[in-house]
Amino acid sequence: MNHPLPETGPDRQFQSHVADGHLWIQHCSDCGGAIFHPRVLCPHCGSLALEWRRASGRGTVYSRADLIQKPKPGETEPRHHALVLVDLDEGPRMMSRLPDVAPEEIRIGMRVQARIAGDPGEYAVVFDPEEAAE
């Protein structure tokens, strides 16, 4: 028999959970592992018993990179596009940005707090420095 499908796919589930403005991630009911990116099975143990939980949103910058591009026509300063990898306190790592922090201020090891940005159905997780978030 064809394997039954969950009610919706994991990407849609993620979008509907984070619509409340908080970061949600999956947890495995069998091994307890925390999971990101969203999936239909646990990459730690293979279980299908996954549940969504609201995450603390807190994490630590694991690494960073800053793309430096030539200035736009009429501008003098180069354009920066800084990306980070954040280790969530719950365990998983995610790629993201710190939109309100100058690239040169982003430090490996700095504490950050998640924020949900973007439009419904296309939400993405960005981060702010932990102090500024509360």
């Binding site: 990179a65 793309l67 990306l83 790592r93 960005v126």
Partner: protein, 382 residues
């Protein structure tokens, strides 16, 4: 000991269209590299019955290749693990040859990224949860690995620059190399910062180019035109596609692929005479020297300092000039095999490592996503 050790040999290698090949397609220059590899072996296209092929320009690379070349192979392996594919094929070709699935294995690649598309063509599918943040693949992954290595172990930009300078030193001895002008540590540090902490000179070239390698079983290899270069061991390892899924950005799966290759070969890092390590970015060489066991984790920066991997240094690495200075047509892996074969035949000209009897090739795929290692040796290492 694995039956694959010594179970296959490289009998022909070829390159074509290195640098710029305007007006030619990937398939055109690939065909010329294939002809060169077969010609020097004393074999014909009609002898090839095993095909091992991947690229980024064709949806079905092996099928397009066999049609262009007029092959009707009885065994095809199109496993695409990125630029590491071709180093992985050394093991799968040895396996197919030993299993009798084919008698003459052709490993090939071609791309015209420089004159054709004019840029690095990223893969069609990219990680869903990274894309909204607009990463620049593949560089973002390597810049993040470099930044983490620097933060964790104190690796410096000068040490990264040593890798680029060593590659250029070798390239100056290779008439086929794309970049042969003198390059100093200061030049690397002063070059344009592309993605902090990597400058333009920390990044590989973007060229056209094609490469081909022909392998047979040893009995046949001994009757062919070139000194056989024996496959001694190989291994692959992979844990993740996206860099955000990589467990530790300072330790790659090369730790496992290398251990598997050394175990099959019955050899250790100290037994290796020359290394060909896929250097898409300077940090790669430091990571792979550590993960393959040539120095301790975190010591790669100091290990490469003082010209240790440059011409005249204690450990010759990327003797063709590597992806940094020789050629980099999007996927570089096949060129590690070609240079290893030339070194072990003693046919590497001004860049020849005297008496080289063993060589290690290491391929890296995608964004530190897949690692493949293969070890080769001359007849006396069997």
């Amino acid at each position: 000991m694995s039956g694959l050790r010594g179970g296959a040999a490289i009998v022909g290698v070829g390159t074509a269209g290195l640098g710029e090949a305007p007006g030619f397609t990937a398939m055109d220059i690939q065909a010329l590299a294939v002809r060169q590899a077969l010609d020097e072996a004393g074999l014909a296209l009609s002898d090839v019955d095993g095909l091992f092929c991947a690229n980024m320009s064709h949806t079905f690379p092996a099928i397009s290749t066999l049609e262009y070349l007029g092959l009707r192979p009885r065994w095809i392996d199109g496993t695409n693990t990125g630029g590491s594919s071709f180093v992985g094929y050394a093991t799968s070709a040895a396996m197919a040859l030993q299993a009798g699935l084919c008698d003459v294995a052709l490993i090939c690649y071609g791309a015209t990224m420089r004159s054709g598309a004019g840029r690095m063509v990223p893969a069609a599918e990219q990680p869903t949860y990274e894309i909204p943040h607009k990463p620049r693949y593949p560089m973002t992954a390597y810049a993040m690995a470099a930044a983490r290595h620097m933060a964790e172990f104190g690796t410096t930009r000068e040490q990264l620059a040593e890798v680029a300078v060593a590659a250029r030193g070798w390239a100056q001895k290779n008439p086929d190399a794309f970049e042969r002008d003198p390059l100093s540590i200061e030049d690397v540090l002063a070059s344009r910062m592309v993605m902090e902490p990597l400058t333009l000179r920390d990044c590989c070239l973007l060229t056209d180019g094609a490469g081909a390698v022909v392998m047979t079983r040893p009995d046949r290899a001994r009757d062919l035109a070139q000194t056989p270069v024996y496959f001694l061991g190989g291994g692959v390892a992979s844990y993740n596609r996206a860099v955000s899924e990589m467990p530790d950005l300072t330790t790659t799966a090369a730790k496992d692929s290398g251990a598997r290759a050394f175990a099959m070969a019955g050899l250790r890092p100290s037994d290796m005479d020359v290394l060909q390590l896929y250097d898409a970015f300077t940090i790669n060489v430091i990571l792979f020297l550590e993960d393959l066991g040539f120095c301790a984790k975190g010591d790669g920066g100091s290990f490469v300092s003082g010209g240790r991997i440059a011409p005249g240094g204690a450990l010759p690495v990327n003797t063709n000039g590597g992806g940094l200075s020789f050629t980099h047509p999007g996927m570089y892996g096949v060129f590690t095999l070609i240079e290893a074969a030339r070194q072990l035949r003693g046919a590497a000209g001004a860049r020849q490592v005297p008496g080289a009897a063993t060589a290690l090739c290491h391929g890296n795929g995608i964004t530190l996503s897949h690692q493949a290692t293969a070890i080769f040796g001359r007849a006396e290492t069997l």
